[in-house]
Symmetry: C2
């Protein structure tokens, strides 16, 4: 698996920033290892990592794979809040309980950290403190961009935005590989599986993309997709 340099590729957020927490906390890498809670944990696809309402004493960094965070309505409707890939951090909460569930989209490896430990360390370590703030502000920015996407966008615009954002986050300029299902995409974009599928098919008919298979999409006319998002 090529390492996705999510870091450099997201340095300056572009106009069509649509997706999730860009942030990662470099301070957790070096001596921050001391803050880890145990070894790397493996989760298989669709496994639950934590559940909405669970105590939020741990948060996670993605080593490999993709995870999704989501909320459910009583009638089963699901909203995916964000997807997280290699290097990204999720589940760091203000309150004592997680406000959404986290599940593995694909098989993945995660490192867990203790929230209290990191908070305590931040009191002594300005750089860590600064990165925590940066992480939180990035989270807010990403969530706002997501809300913007959901609020005032037609289906084609949502799908185009998603493809472009995903391509950029993963540094994939030609062929995008999508670890998530159409259902996941739909629940992220506030669309049904059918609408996502139809929109992609239409993009293909229009020559904007090619779909060699359901989990891989080739961008043929990126500039036209960007026009849709503008």
């Amino acid at each position: 698996m090529p390492a996705n340099l999510a870091i450099s590729s997201r340095a300056a957020l572009p106009l069509h920033l649509l997706t999730p927490h860009s942030s990662w906390m470099a301070a957790l890498d070096g001596q921050g290892d001391a803050l880890r809670a145990g070894a790397v944990q493996h989760f298989h696809a669709d496994q639950e990592i934590f559940c909405e309402g669970d105590g939020a004493d741990l948060f996670f960094k993605v080593v490999s794979g993709t995870i999704r965070t989501c909320k459910f309505l009583s009638d089963g409707r699901r909203q995916i809040e964000a997807f997280y890939s290699e290097g990204e951090v999720f589940g760091f909460e203000l309150a004592g309980a997680h406000r959404f569930s986290a599940e593995a989209v694909s098989d993945c490896n995660l490192i867990a950290y203790r929230r209290r430990g990191v908070e305590a360390a931040a009191l002594q370590d300005r750089e860590l403190s600064r990165q925590l703030l940066s992480y939180a502000l990035h989270s807010a920015t990403d969530a706002q961009a997501h809300a913007f996407l959901l609020g005032r966008r037609a289906a084609a615009e949502k799908v185009a935005a998603f493809l472009l954002d995903w391509a950029q986050r993963r540094g994939e300029t030609q062929i995008i590989s999508l670890p998530m299902s159409r259902q996941d995409m739909g629940d992220y974009l506030g669309l049904t599986i059918e609408t996502v599928s139809r929109t992609l098919s239409q993009f293909e008919r229009d020559g904007l993309i090619a779909i060699p298979n359901a989990r891989h999409i080739r961008l043929l006319r990126k500039e036209m997709l960007e026009e849709l998002v503008a």
Copy 2:
């Protein structure tokens, strides 16, 4: 004008937290006054406070009145990101530029702060640092709740959620006063002005609310509105 104790009423975020930045930074009140950039500024209704893309060297705290932050699409579509009332802070950014515009909904008074000044002060002041993080995480939480509202909700659910959230934020249990227009509500909820109006009229016909006039709404069957949001 009665002072709205937004602080106490938002201590613990409820399940249907839907709107904006709860947070305010108490540390800015005391000796934090030193961080202020000039006197209280007055803005009249619909006046622009800052514009998307403007340098974000200042951020603001609401003394009185209500403001909105929003983004625009090229074709004029507008998404309101959040409303801010007395005591709430907005416009504190990670990057050098504001990512949305801010406008006065009603006449209002604001205190400006210098971002760099506060950041510098936070390096010396752990409590301020902690509150900055708290503010940022609250912003993220609120934006995520907003995205959830926009993604998977029918019109009636959106409007009900908005009314309940607004009532709670302002501590208004009986009569809600709405400083914003129907257009503002629509642009916050991802609905048109007509749909907002129709939905409110339907609520009134169903006996859930009374609408003495367009800017005041009385909650008659709060529990039924809550059922819609559940």
